[in-house]
């Protein structure tokens, strides 16, 4: 299968195999107007299998959200068919309205407040700001 390179936009490489759809969903990309390519289970020397996302004419993506969903991914910015920047991701220290608190006893279940989570450790576990419930980012 051949998917052509993009001249301008963002490529998200090294996405964990099978997570491409989830990443797209979290990034809230406008698939109605932008050209989007999602390649799943691409052979990779380093990872065995990986997903790749190509977003044509998109200038930036929310790195916080992306770091949360798949912190091992790499974001590559393309201008005039050249790589201008590669960004290695890490877990964001704080996220707002990305993870939802599932604790039925949490105040977020009754009050209109943002769902705020703070990074709890190096393994990508997050703590709800209100009830301290701990969740693993990629299991939410």
């Amino acid at each position: 299968m051949e998917v052509k390179s993009i001249a301008n936009g963002v490529v998200i490489d090294h996405v964990r195999a099978g997570f491409g759809m989830k990443v797209l969903e979290y990034l809230n990309v406008d698939t109605g107007s932008d050209t989007v390519a999602l390649l799943m289970n691409v052979a990779s020397r380093k990872h065995g299998r990986k997903d790749i996302i190509k977003l044509e004419n998109v200038e930036s993506v929310d790195l916080n959200v992306l770091g949360l969903v798949d912190h091992n991914a790499t974001v590559i910015h393309i201008r005039d068919s050249k790589v201008v920047e590669k960004v290695k991701l890490s877990f964001p220290t704080k996220v707002k309205n990305v993870i939802t608190c599932k604790n039925p006893r949490c105040v977020t279940s009754i009050e209109a407040v943002p769902h705020v989570f703070h990074l709890a450790d190096d393994e990508g576990r997050y703590r709800c700001e209100y009830c301290d419930n701990i969740v693993k980012a990629d299991e939410n």
Binding site: N103, P104, R105, C106, V107, T108, S109, I110, E111, A112, V113, A120, D121, R127, C128, E129, Y130, C131, D132, N133, I134
Partner: protein, 309 residues
């Protein structure tokens, strides 16, 4: 110590020095209550209790009245605008128009934090679901300090419902800031401490063990903190019935304990401490309830910026 205008949502909102300052003030009040009888004259406390309470509400109300202040509030949300569906944020904004300080209990975890963020008036957490109960912790610590002189190096057993027991979570959080405290957490698997509490102890570097066996743990303890399995925290009545009488401390079991053990309980108790323990000098839970009023007097004064005579 400058606590004027601050909120108290969880024990870590206070430094160790600030807590010790409150205990010092509480001890001065115990020694000379008359000289504090009018220090809060003209001040108004609002008590917002969305969940039932006897000790905490009465002790806050008694504390304010004994300081010469006045009290307004509700102890039954159905008798307030809450019954009409008012949000926590709107309720606290309204109460702020009338009162100088508020104390709030609510079944949802994090609810008092949400209220405090909408309020310039100090807001005190009197229990938010199964999360925290910092003024019970001040009560517990004052009781231990009066008896043991301090907290460094003590072994504390916590027994019963450690999952939903907010007093347990707050007490552990506060004690991890002293030196060499050892925790023995005794509970059925289903009611063990939440991961964030375990994490807090790990980060402090203190020792802890988790066990199901109260009898074996008893001889090692300097303090035994018993808790009630709380029916109101269960979604399933069968689980409550299965777990409620798992641990019962009685005079027989206490024979294996140290002679200077302190048995504490935030109260109310149901069956977890047999009445034959009440006459044992190691039972401190009713004295603990009295200390709660004194330390709440010290807290109200500090948050209102009122000085003693």
């Amino acid at each position: 110590m400058e606590l004027k205008g601050r909120h108290l949502i969880e024990p870590s909102d206070l430094t160790v020095e600030e807590m010790e300052g409150l205990f010092d003030e509480a001890e001065r009040i115990v020694a000379n209550p008359e000289s504090y009888a009018e220090v809060c004259k003209g001040k108004l406390l609002a008590t917002l209790f969305y969940e039932p309470s006897t000790r905490t509400r009465f002790s806050f109300e008694a504390a304010m009245l004994r300081l010469g202040g006045k009290v307004i509030g509700f102890s039954e949300p159905n008798s307030s605008a809450v019954a009409k569906g008012e949000s926590i944020a709107d309720t606290i904004r309204t109460v702020e128009c009338y009162a100088d300080i508020a104390v709030m209990r609510h079944p949802k975890e994090g609810s008092v934090l949400v209220a405090s963020r909408q309020s310039d008036m100090p807001v005190i957490n009197a229990g938010d679901g199964g999360h925290h109960h910092p003024t019970q912790t001040l009560t517990d610590l004052l009781t231990i300090r009066l008896e043991k002189g301090g907290f460094d190096g003590i072994t504390v057993g916590l027994c019963g419902d450690l999952k939903f027991g907010r007093t347990v979570h707050s007490l552990i959080q506060a004690l991890t800031r002293y030196t060499g405290v050892r925790f023995i957490m005794i509970s059925p698997q289903e009611l063990s401490v939440p991961e964030y509490v375990r994490e807090k102890i790990r980060k402090s570097g203190m020792e802890f063990e988790e066990t199901h066996d109260l009898r074996q743990s008893l001889p090692k303890l300097d303090v035994l903190y018993m808790t009630r399995v709380q029916r109101e925290r269960f979604f399933n009545e069968e689980d409550y019935i299965r777990l409620k009488d798992r641990y019962i401390l009685d005079a027989g079991k206490l024979k294996d304990a140290k002679p200077d053990l302190m048995v504490l309980h935030p109260l109310p108790r149901v069956n977890e401490i047999a009445v034959d323990v009440d006459s044992d000098p190691r039972a401190h839970y009713f004295r603990q309830a009295k200390n709660g009023m004194y330390v709440r007097m010290a807290l109200l004064m500090a948050l209102l910026g009122v000085k003693g005579e």
